[in-house]
């Protein structure tokens, strides 16, 4: 019997409609519309519900926790050290107290993962990376920074120009509290103009180097320059 050949107009009790195909295609169309317009829907709904209730939306307003090693490295605030070395006049080892004694900066920004999920209105506080570089005194010939993590596996890179942007910080507070272990505490990098993978967690060392050394995610195919506007050159609109 040809399914649904007569369509909806046939109301005889024995007549048949291809509901399966319609629901199936409907799901596909809804899914496609959700992909194209989902970001907008999420914004509108999130705003309508307020930031608290926005967390109830699937996919909205919440972090997914990424680790590349088996578990989180656990470093106490007392044991925490940040080594700054390489092409600098004054190599230094910072404790958390040292960092907190420096001038601090704080701001609120949306956090965005390269795979698409976002967390609106994340509060950040820490030391501008440019201040740390100025204190250490960058030598002639230095081009980039190489970052290392307490997890022993993750690494990241920034050019010196990128590192000096005002929303690139060594963060010790996030979401209004000390950075938690799952978010990369006690101290993590936060690179505001770029996707989340550039904001290396459990920051242990900053080396000033004479070339860009691609980090862990970059070695796995992610762009070295992961600007949020999608550009992948060494500069984006904010620099050029």
């Amino acid at each position: 019997m040809p399914a649904g050949a007569k369509g909806d107009t046939d109301k005889r009790p024995g007549s048949r409609v291809a509901v399966g195909r319609r629901v199936f295609l409907g799901m596909g169309v809804l899914g496609a519309a959700g992909v194209v317009f989902g970001a907008k829907v999420q914004n509108v709904l999130g705003n309508a519900l307020g930031s608290g209730l926005g967390g109830l939306l699937p996919g909205g307003d919440r972090f997914r926790i990424y680790t590349i090693t088996g578990s989180y490295p656990r470093v106490s605030e007392a044991d925490y050290r940040l080594e700054v070395s390489g092409l600098v006049h004054h190599p230094q080892i910072f404790t958390l107290a040292d960092l907190k004694a420096m001038p601090s900066t704080s701001f609120v920004q949306e956090f965005q993962c390269v795979t698409g999920w976002t967390v609106p209105d994340v509060h950040w506080e820490g030391v501008k990376l440019s201040d740390i570089l100025d204190n250490a005194g960058v030598k002639q010939g230095a081009v980039a920074l190489s970052f290392e993590s307490y997890d022993g596996a993750d690494s990241e890179s920034l050019t010196l120009d990128q590192a000096r942007l005002p929303d690139v910080i060594v963060a010790y507070r996030m979401l209004g509290a000390p950075v938690t272990t799952e978010h990369g505490g006690p101290v993590r990098l936060y690179v505001g103009p770029m996707f989340g993978y550039k904001s290396l967690k459990w920051l242990s060392a900053i080396r000033v180097v004479d070339e860009v050394i691609p980090g862990f995610w970059e070695q796995n195919g992610y762009p070295v320059n992961g600007w949020r506007d999608g550009s992948t050159g060494p500069t984006d609109r904010s620099l050029s």
Binding site: M1, A3, G4, D10, K11, R12, P13, G14, S15, R16, V17, A18, V19, G20, R21, V23, F24, G26, M27, G28, L30, G31, A32, G34, V35, V36, F37, G38, A39, K40, V41, Q42, L57, P58, G59, G60, F63, R64, I65, Y66, T67, I68, G70, S71, Y72, Q112, V114, T115, G116, W117, T118, E182, G221, R228, G230
Partner: protein
Amino acid sequence: MTTQIDAAPQSAGRILRFDGVQRAAHWANALLFGILMLTALPLYFPSLSDVVGRRALVANIHVWSGVALPVPLLISLLGPWGAQMRRDLRRINVWTNEEVKWLRSLGRNAPRVVDKFNPGQKLNAIFVGGSIVVMLATGFILKWFRFFPVNWRTGATFVHDALAFAIFAVVIGHILFALTHRDSMRSMITGWVSETWAARHAPGWLREMRARPERDQLP
């Protein structure tokens, strides 16, 4: 059972509801859904990800189970062995007006005559099929995001997450129905139902089978 007497073969016999291909497809599909749902939890809930650890491994299992997801259904449908699978797909696709009324009334107006599958079972199967396509497509965008604009990635995350919530609800419902309808569940394990069961739950199908018993019972 000793009542295989000529006088009343219809009432005492049993009929094949799901052949081996269908059962294999169902359980392979169920296994993949189970793996995907279990691995989804630590990927989504930070508290669980801390307990489970090894995120890269969990994510890999999730991604490759997802890639494999359409395989059991496609193999069972497209091969020369899939005649009954294809027949049942047509049954699931085609709804009587009474069944459409059931859907429009959100389950209140039950159809008088139930075919092999009731409209709820049909809807479940359609939902599973649609979910596979949508989850596979959005999952592909999340995994191979480089090929898609940033706002599509956000939209794909939204759809993947929202549909995941729906899938959990539907699958849990499906399992609860199975556990409370043992004869029905047994037919997905052994393939067979009694004609007594069919007379009660799928009279339209039973009538059809009596008229053309060979139709669904070909080896």
